[in-house]
Symmetry: C2
Subunit: 346 residues, 2 copies
DNA sequence: ATCGGTCGTTCAATCGTTTGACCGACAGTA
DNA sequence: TACTGTCGGTCAAACGATTGAACGACCGAT
């Protein structure tokens, strides 16, 4: 039998106060554990009982109005379908929850000017702070600034003078990947890089070049191609690498800047009749669940994406809005060995 | 040069009213486009100018307090990493935005009792309504009920007496898949089903049986195995299908209840030395971007997941809380032909 | 000249919490 | 006895927007 819910007349502080025969101020202070409150244990119990029997829940709107805090954080990502952001969200959400905050995650992919819409909607006191993952423009930085909200970038290093960001150790990840290939005996190692706009791509490319240089190997321009971080882009980029190779031979291994592109790379290689890892070894950045089930299972570099998201929330909440915050999360950046890498033939 | 932001003293209605030399009531009514407001165009312009020059933004907390509406909707999913939910979120978010609402998406995977935490956090007037995708318990239904919020289930049909849900036409999707296999000439068609708890799994299994029956084929119990909608579960289920087959021969085709499990199924087949589609054809439900890049590219049945999410939001916002709402979204449920299905050998 | 009816606008109560200020009672001290 | 503190609370003013009610001015009709 269902209890028919009459339009419940919300139970408020005064209801509780009446039942406990105290002033509502007491109730409020009990709830918020005001350290300045001195009160008999007996009274406190009466209040707590009253709260319980009435099933009282503080009204968030009223509280927000009074305290000028929303208890909510915003996270703007490009696209929910991208598993990299799924990981970041997961970490951020959990950290926010632990600090009693709710996380509003919005994607900009939906509409043409998704970011604007979100800045509009969230910049009215709806959130206490904003986390931006993914690309942003200078104009958006302007707008953000004018909202007067604390905000920072996640997995992106902004180009302006707003030095607040958390990123991963992309260069190190790239180095791990390339050194793995080197240690297997590869000398001719190609790179499917990310888009020019993404600074993560720059750092991974830099790590790749660095590792190659350290090994005393010159990188041929023809062995580096650029994709847009999607599997389609990866497929294309690998295609152009193979095309370039017609005259000068094929790399025996490829370091791919992210897993999504690696999926396309595997595709292209298969269609070209090249076996992985027998003919070409492939290693990519980001150890997403998917990697394990590709054909062949993909060797990757695990990045602490969840920690990244979590750390971003922590920093956003703990640091003063005007304070500079630049942090690199580098825990547990490590190679995950699977079946897509092997020594080169001969 | 950055404008240094002094701690901005929020600009409020009265500031605007003063500048426009009208009462704040006017400003409020102008903003909310109160149809009952009769006002000279000149005055209206003055107000609008004032709003613009001051950069006024209404304070959400105050508005929520007064109107008892949050302008926010909640969506609770099991896990962000599951691309099925990514699609639902995307659709829901876009629909919410179109209606001037913000969507708070929370996952229950984070902590042991994630659902409870969310019901706690969101059930304080933070959201105007709640969408539940994924499994829920009777106890949670109880709690939900006690929050006095409108809520409904998405892609799940609740078992209780709360008849508010939007689902997809799972039986039809299954039929499309199986009929495709039948038309290729397969007679022995296995099924990797979803978990008993999920009613989507039940409907897909029912559709499978229905289609088989219509074709006059008896389904052997050994040809149906159950997985938990993850790729690991799919791999296992396919394993047991192969084990069962030792005595009675292998199915020439498998209908898999979702893409995640199909990934595992392909894995198991590959390890068993069976080629897809030469030895076994595979077709799965849900046409996620991933499907295109599996090896081989997977034939699927596309389901309108985004529409599902969008429709859920629409219904939640438009229907009275006590009204029953049961809808099946079935637009664009169609077969997507790729390379994982082919006629059986001989 | 008076009345009624729009038009254009103002008044003020209200939503539910938080929080600084204030206050009475009682105990201990000088 | 008067004074000073602590204890255990109460009072009331915010926070910023919404909205029903009221109000003065003006116009046309009687």
């Amino acid at each position: 039998m269902t209890t028919r819910r009459a339009a419940t007349p919300r139970v408020t502080l005064v209801d509780v106060a009446k039942l406990a025969t105290v002033d509502k101020a007491i109730v409020s202070r009990v709830i918020n554990e005001d350290p300045a409150l001195v009160i008999r244990q007996e009274t406190r119990d009466r209040v707590i009982d009253a709260i319980r029997t009435l099933g009282y829940r503080p009204n968030i709107a009223a509280r927000s109005l009074r305290t000028a805090k929303a208890g909510t954080l915003g996270l703007v990502i490009p696209d929910f379908a991208n598993p990299v952001y799924a990981e970041i969200i997961t970490g951020a959400e959990s950290a926010a929850l632990d600090r009693g905050h709710v996380l509003v995650t919005g994607s900009t992919s939906g509409s043409r000017n998704g970011m604007d819409r979100y800045l509009e909607l969230l910049g009215q006191g709806r959130v206490d702070g904003l986390l931006l993952a993914g690309p942003t423009s200078a104009r958006e930085h302007q707008k953000l600034q004018s909202l007067g909200l604390p905000w920072m970038m996640v997995n992106r290093r902004d180009t302006g003078d707003h030095h607040r960001y958390v990123i991963l150790d992309d260069a190190h990840a790239a180095k791990l990947a390339v050194e793995h290939l080197l240690s297997l005996g590869h000398r001719r190692i190609g790179h499917v890089a990310g888009p020019t706009g993404a600074d993560t791509a720059k750092r991974r490319a830099a790590g790749y070049r660095q590792a190659m240089k350290t090994a005393g190997i010159t990188v041929r321009p023809a062995d580096v191609a650029r994709g847009d971080y999607t599997s389609g882009g990866g497929a294309e980029a690998m295609g152009s690498l193979l095309a370039n190779a017609e005259k000068s031979g094929t790399p025996t291994a490829v370091f791919v800047a992210n897993v999504a592109m690696a999926v396309g790379v595997l595709d292209t290689l298969r269609r070209a009749g090249l076996r992985v890892p027998a003919d070409v070894s492939v290693v990519a950045v980001h150890d997403l669940p998917l990697a394990e089930h590709l054909n062949p299972p993909l060797t990757t570099v695990r990045m602490p994406l969840q920690q990244l998201g979590g750390r971003a929330v922590e920093l956003l909440l703990s640091r003063a809005p005007e304070e500079q915050v630049t942090e690199v999360v580098s825990t547990a950046t490590e190679l995950v060995l699977r079946e897509s890498t092997a020594p080169p033939r001969i």
